[in-house]
């Protein structure tokens, strides 16, 4: 009996799997089917949502890169670096390091000089991912024209008050190119007054009459325009929309109370513009010809004395300016204080001094203020600031042609 019972139990246990399979199969299939369908739908919905999210992000990245590009082009113009850009030859370009305006958002600026007066500034805005890969990129360009400070001294020496000339000091309004500058300014002849003065006091009696003042109109008329009502204070501080302060802010060299400038080359044999005492090379054939086209803006916030040495460019002195010894400077000098020249210094271009002036030769030398439109033009051109063209300056730049 016990044995028979145990046999039945074995049979029952062995038959149950077949019954269970018959009754549950469709439920399992339906459940699996439902799970698959639900999974597919969830995946599809997720995919659609993800696609929408990616599209939105890409749109945002594209807009960000466009804004970066536009900001970059404007930024380059607003922070124009004359010493870098104005020295480019027509057809040449320079690409500056990337500038980050926000995390993962940079612009890469390129400046191309098209003609002596025209520049093309383009900036490529890039939206980066955390690894530095570019997610979106747009380029915007601005056509710009070199705005050259409008300085027209109309004389070799312009003074806001009185001036005195002693000994063999000479102020000449006869337009002369500096020695060795042949070909730099072809066909320019622009003889002007020797002196223009707001005051009536231009004393040259101690240099033997008027012979030390040379210029238009030629002798026997006096080459002096005094008093000149057009010589106002703004003549010394406003240069055709570019102020003294704006020019000073562009200065590459900030000097203290005195300096003895001299051109210099760096290790690669090129002009060392980082040298604070390298103010360019006005002379040729002395081994510094690479500095011949370098005309920095030099700014002295207080009184300043130039004792010997040579340089070129635009020299701005907020206080009194004194030039002594055999110092030579080519370009434009503007001082808001007094001006004093002693011994045998030479200034080629023009000098504008708002305060009293004394020009005195000593030790057998001859202090010289020589008008040179060529020296002026070259110095001013290097100091120009690029501004967008009045019409059609802005362009979307497409990467391929």
């Amino acid at each position: 009996m016990r044995r028979s019972h145990s046999v039945v139990m074995i049979r029952v246990r062995s038959a149950r799997p077949a019954v269970a399979a018959d009754e549950r199969g469709i439920a399992l299939a339906i459940a699996v089917f439902a799970l698959v369908v639900i999974g597919a739908l969830v995946a599809g919905t997720f995919f659609a949502g993800r696609l929408e999210q990616r599209t939105g992000l890409n749109t945002m990245f594209a807009e960000q890169s466009f804004e970066l590009a536009e900001a970059g082009a404007t930024d380059v113009l607003a922070n124009w670096v004359p010493g870098t850009f104005n020295t480019l030859a027509p057809g040449a370009d320079t690409t500056l390091p990337p500038v980050a305006l926000a995390p993962f958002q940079v612009y890469v600026p390129t400046v191309t000089r098209l003609t002596p007066d025209l520049f093309f500034v383009r900036a490529t805005g890039q939206r980066l991912d955390a690894g530095g890969a570019v997610l979106a990129e747009r380029t915007v360009g601005l056509l710009a024209r070199l705005g050259i400070p409008a300085v027209n001294p109309g004389a070799a020496f312009v003074t806001g008050t009185g001036s005195q000339f002693f000994s063999q000091a000479v102020a000449s309004g006869v337009d002369l190119d500096p020695v060795g500058w042949g070909g730099e300014c072809p066909g320019v002849v622009d003889t002007v007054q020797a002196v223009r003065s707001a005051a009536s006091v231009v004393d040259s009696t101690d240099c033997g009459g008027v012979s030390c003042l040379v210029g238009a109109p030629p002798p026997p008329a006096l080459p002096i325009l005094s008093p000149d009502s057009t010589v106002t204070s703004s003549l010394f501080t406003d240069f055709g929309g570019v102020s003294f302060d704006e020019l000073a802010a562009m200065a590459e060299k900030i000097v203290g109370a005195s300096a003895v400038p001299s051109p210099s080359l760096n290790g690669t044999g090129t002009c060392d513009r980082a040298d604070p005492l390298n103010w360019g090379e006005p002379l040729t054939g002395l081994g510094f010809d690479d500095c011949f086209n370098y005309f920095p803006i030099i700014y002295a916030p207080g009184d300043f004395q130039l004792s010997n040495g040579r340089g070129q460019g635009i020299l701005l002195v907020r206080g009194d300016f004194s030039i002594r010894g055999s110092a030579a400077f080519y370009g434009l000098v503007v001082t808001l204080g007094r001006f004093e020249a002693e011994v045998s210094p030479s200034l080629h271009g023009a000098v504008m001094a708002q305060g009293d002036s004394t020009i005195r030769s000593q030790s057998g030398g001859a202090a010289l203020v020589q008008y040179s439109s060529c020296a002026l033009t070259r110095a001013l051109r290097q100091a120009g600031i690029a501004r967008p063209l009045a019409e059609r300056p802005w362009a979307q730049v497409f990467p391929l042609n």
């Binding site: 439902a34 599209t55 749109t59 191309t112 098209l114 025209l118 050259i148 059609r392 979307q396 497409f398």
Partner: protein
């Protein structure tokens, strides 16, 4: 023995009916679920398309219009309206490397390449040529407009690659003659385009055509849109509305899209209809003078 009898007995009618009812219920639930899911999917797809459509429009239209130039006695806006505009569309930027009375060559050298949306097409495209009349003085600079009669993309300037563009009577168009041109200045190809809302197949679309290219009809750019789906408003330098094409400084662009198909509300209980969405942006004309 007992199990064998039971297995061979089959299904009773009641079991079959219960099974059918259960299958019907499961099928119904499944169908409802699938139908609802399909509705949601279709609705979402329609909404995604709608949003994508509107977003594309709000990117493309300002991109096309922001380079318009106004000022200096001229305007690139040739005709303006609330649902359409005809304008000169910039298509590239290049720099001259050689100029004669009948030909302008544009540099394609690495330092000064031609930046173009596409190749210049004679007849379809014209040029703005920058004329720098007096070096050092910007007040007398002008842009002159020239038709392009031919294009040779395999030209050269010296040894550098260039694109030669045939032009007519350059000497008479340029103030001061060809001698006053400074080689290296910019050239800007453009074509006359029309953007307008139009109706086709009972739906509204934003269409575009090249007027200067002689295209007779508008081609769809995006849509479907609502009946006022493309709307332009024009403002002068003071921000006041203007209809004077020479005084436009900013444009307000509105894109209003609509779904292509009917969309039912949530869970099939909401109303059935077309869903609308819109985006509005303001475009400052970059080549209009800054006061």
């Amino acid at each position: 023995m007992f199990l064998m009898v039971r297995n061979s007995r089959g299904l009773t009618l009641i079991e079959l009916l219960v099974s059918l009812v259960m299958l019907g219920m499961i099928g119904g639930v499944t169908y409802g679920f699938l139908a609802n899911t399909q509705r949601i999917t279709r609705s979402q797809s329609e909404l995604v398309n709608l949003q994508s459509n509107v977003r594309t429009g709000i990117l493309v239209v300002p991109s096309e219009l922001r380079e318009i130039g106004v000022g200096g006695g001229g305007s690139d806006i040739l005709s303006l309206g609330s649902s359409g505009i005809i304008y000169r569309a910039a298509r590239g930027l290049g720099f001259t490397c050689q100029v004669s009375a009948s030909e302008i060559r544009i540099s394609n050298a690495p330092a000064t390449p031609y930046f173009g949306l596409r190749a210049i097409v004679p007849g379809r495209d014209s040029l703005f040529l920058f004329v720098e009349r007096t070096p050092g003085i910007s007040s007398d600079d002008v842009w002159v407009r020239l038709a392009v009669s031919s294009v040779n993309s395999a030209s050269t300037c010296g040894t550098d690659p260039a694109i030669a563009l045939g032009v007519a009577n350059l000497g008479s168009v340029v103030p001061g003659g060809i001698g006053s041109l400074v080689v290296g200045g910019p050239v800007r190809p453009f074509e006359v385009m029309e953007l307008r809302l139009y109706s086709s197949g009972g739906k509204f679309w934003l269409g575009a055509r090249s007027v200067s290219g002689g295209e007779p009809s508008l081609q769809p750019v995006l849509g479907p849109l609502t009946a006022n789906g493309f709307e332009l408003d024009y403002f002068d330098v003071a921000g006041a509305p203007t209809s004077n094409r020479f005084q436009v400084r900013t444009l307000r662009v509105a894109i209003r899209g609509v779904t292509d198909q009917l969309i039912r509300g949530p869970a099939g209980t909401g109303p059935t209809g077309y869903v609308q969405d819109s985006l509005v942006t303001t475009v400052s004309l970059r080549n209009a003078p800054i006061p």
